[in-house]
């Protein structure tokens, strides 16, 4: 059985999808990520899809679900590394990945996550 590793990097979780996922594997990843957000007290999730050569409606929905669940659990999600041909296909397919933040690569994605954490802490600091 394939498994997609979830790495912890400070307050963030890092996932690189490198296999052609069948639907069940996508569901397993969704469940494991939400579990790990809670057990690791993660504040952000970075999903690298640079190895994915297609994103169909099922994978798109999985990414939207992860972002939605993470948000409810107080964590930000950034999807990085989408191939240009995948982006073109997604738009023509009619998928807009609602609620998902994207960045060009892992570096920029990490910057986004860090920035949103700093911003949020500043807001919380004011409240106290």
């Amino acid at each position: 059985m394939d498994k997609i590793p979830i790495l912890k990097l400070g307050p963030f979780l890092l996932v690189t999808i490198q296999v052609d996922m069948h639907d069940r594997l996508a569901m397993i990843l969704q469940e494991e990520l939400t579990d790990r957000i809670v057990t690791d007290h993660a504040r952000g999730v970075l999903i690298d899809i640079s190895s994915l050569d297609i994103v169909d409606s099922f994978i798109g929905r999985m990414l939207s679900n992860i972002a939605g669940m993470a948000r409810v659990l107080d964590a930000e999600t950034v999807v990085v590394g989408m191939q240009p041909s995948v982006a073109i296909t997604l738009v023509e397919l009619g998928l807009s990945l609602p609620g998902i933040r994207t960045a060009l690569n892992v570096d920029r994605g990490m910057d986004l996550l860090k920035a949103s954490l700093v911003e949020e802490e500043a807001v919380r600091g004011q409240d106290d």
Binding site: D20, M21, H22, D23, R24, D53, I54, V55, D56, S57, F58, G60, R61, Q83, S85, V86, I88, T89, E92, L93, G94, L95
Partner: protein
Amino acid sequence: MDKTIELPLRAQDDVVAVRQAVRSQAVSIGLSLVDQTKLVTAASELARNTVIHGGGGTATLEVIQESSKRGIRLTFEDRGPGIRDIELALKDGFTTGNGLDLGRGGARRLTSSFSIESTQGVGTKIVITQWAKQ
């Protein structure tokens, strides 16, 4: 040239196998990367529909030639319940299963041609074609 492959579509893993077979045929006739991606994505949507809504079936992959044009024709067939209202089933967001479901409408937008035949109680047959740009 007239290589035809028929693959079973019974379970989710078969969808992955169809995606990979379509990709390798698309590469072999020289489809552009964007057209490959569109065709594989459309195949993925239709293959999943065949498994989930059609209760399983087959995918047939053919390399076709028309004068100097080469293309790939994919046929998805099932013996499921059939589709009552095809126009409705082609609309985005229409789903009876577990999808978005941009499947059929999306597949139609992503490929050069799309045709669907469905008879209630008999099954559904969807054919899509993608031509290589000259």
